[in-house]
Amino acid sequence: MIVVLNNRVDRNSFELLSKARKLADKAFMKLVFLLISNSKKNIEELVRFGPDVVILALHERFERFSLDPFLSTSKKILEKYSPSIVLAPATTFGRTLMPALAASFRTGLTADCTELDVDEKGNLLQTRPAIGGNVMATIVTPFHRPQMATVRPGVFEIEEQKKRNTIFVEEPVENPEDRCQLVRVEPKQAGAKLEEAKIIVSVGKGLRKKENVELAFRLASLVKGAVGASRAVVDARWLSHDHQVGLSGKTVKPKIYIAAGISGAVQHLAGMQTSEIVVAINKDRHAPIFRVADIGIVADASWALSELIRRLERDDDGSRR
């Protein structure tokens, strides 16, 4: 049995279910989606991604994630079903709950996987970037169950399945205790939406100054895209962490990825390699980014972005006339 665990029915759930369905078919396992949440929102959507069973653990306590109640509830349910594999998204939810579960079950956990497979023995082959993204490592948990992994959002395609008779089971949740207390919630502004953008304009320190980041926003709004950033730019506080692409940021796979003034540290490459077409703009002809690009423009990044904006605005005028 493979369990996909999440606290909401969202994009991450669909990505994980799509991948897990293939693994389950290959290993002749059942696929179960375990939702620990305060609401049934969107649960009917789940059937499109092929789980055999959907387990619902619903309680008002689960409106926001807190370790104690989520751990006690998920532990109880996983003990009851004793799955072979447990997957969760590498979000703040999965990256907090999964280590606690792994510690409780005395089992292994692989963080931030970018590829998953199963071998003929039912071992989960968990692949993730290692040594700061310089290499990939494949990890197995041969003698402990369940096998646990968190998976980077954005690395697996969402694939719909033929309808099957998904069974819905509601597990009773007794008032779960929490030693911590939520005082208040302050919503964040909508994030950079990098995961869904078809075109990403990513900026690095090659833009020379913070003001020039505005060019990326202008271009992104022209092409209905999103603005990404290298770690250096985020560290310099030109942009918030929401924008960061790479090993310690987001994994993206747009149709076009424009890397402007980004030299291409391996950590950055780890997050954008899956883009369909990569365009690199950099003054330094020898910057590593050119090795992973399809189109390379050797020029000052700010200048090139303004030229491109001018060019696209001209196109825009033309079409309106």
Binding site: L109, N134, A137, C180, Q181, L182, V183, I295, I297, L308
Partner: protein, 266 residues
């Protein structure tokens, strides 16, 4: 108020070089340093100690040269430094590491109100040890802490940063906090701090001292196994536009964007 901070030694990534032919890490002559995120955790502890009194203990598991990193922690304001070092611990995954650290804390009866961990290390990047350790110690834990707002005799008020919101949580003491960079800006060591560090005693223990069964830790005790390490193929065939061809490159990019927006194949 007592603070316990986990620190890890990592290779100095500023100096990490990649072999251009094999794509692997050139390990020769790599310096070690304190995991940068742990420096933020340590600073939070030291600044709280300066305000409210108490002591800061740093705990690390690693090879003997981790002593240098712990000395640095003392120079930065820690009062006590503990290193768990043993060949039996080599190859420990996050589970085995957490177990060894938990046993050390229990065996040495280290007192703490706050157990503070950096979000993750810059080499392993799993971010799992803090939460696994807290679970083994049966401590409440709050991850992704971006700010410590208030600390009282028996509680702490923190801001937690998650995807869609900032959350304010009140937690009882003792508690484990896994903190983000923003909790505190690390200071530089002072001259007197450095002097203190030179004379400081670093407590070093092995698995026998802590009564850890060597079978439970290290590679043997680790549930996970690395079965394959390989280079990522990140090479594409790049068409370069330079000098006088740059305008042509920009035109091509504009065309590519236009077609993508129109939903045409590119």
């Amino acid at each position: 108020m007592n603070f316990l901070v986990l620190v890890k030694q990592v290779p100095d990534t500023e100096k990490v070089k990649i072999d251009p032919n094999t794509g692997t890490l050139v390990r020769e002559g790599l310096d070690i340093t304190m995991n940068p995120l742990d420096a933020h955790a340590l600073e939070l502890a030291v600044s709280l100690k300066e305000k409210f009194g108490g002591s800061v203990t740093v705990l690390s598991m690693g090879p003997m040269n981790t002593v240098d990193v712990l000395r640095n922690a003392i120079a930065l304001g820690a009062d006590r430094a503990i290193l768990l070092s043993d060949v039996a611990l080599a190859g420990s995954d996050t589970w085995a590491t957490s177990l060894a650290l938990a046993r050390t804390i229990q065996k040495l009866s280290i007192q703490y109100d706050l157990l503070i961990c950096g979000e993750k290390s810059i080499d392993g990047e799993t971010g799992q040890v803090g939460i696994e350790l807290a679970t083994l110690l049966n401590l409440p834990a709050i991850s992704y802490v971006s700010e410590l707002i208030e600390i009282g005799r028996d509680f702490v008020l923190v801001r937690r940063s998650v995807e869609d919101a900032h959350e304010i949580w009140k937690a009882p003491l003792p508690v484990c906090l896994c903190v983000l960079k923003s909790v505190a800006e690390p200071r530089l060591p002072t001259l007197s701090g450095k002097k203190k560090a030179m004379d400081a005693k670093i407590e070093i223990y092995n698995v026998k001292d802590i009564k850890i069964d060597p079978e439970e830790v290290g590679l043997k005790g680790s549930p996970t196994r690395v079965v394959k390490v390989f280079n990522t193929k990140v090479s594409r065939n790049c068409t370069i536009y330079e000098d006088k061809d740059v305008p042509e490159g920009i035109n091509r990019l504009a065309e590519l964007i236009r077609r993508t927006l129109a939903g045409e194949p590119v």
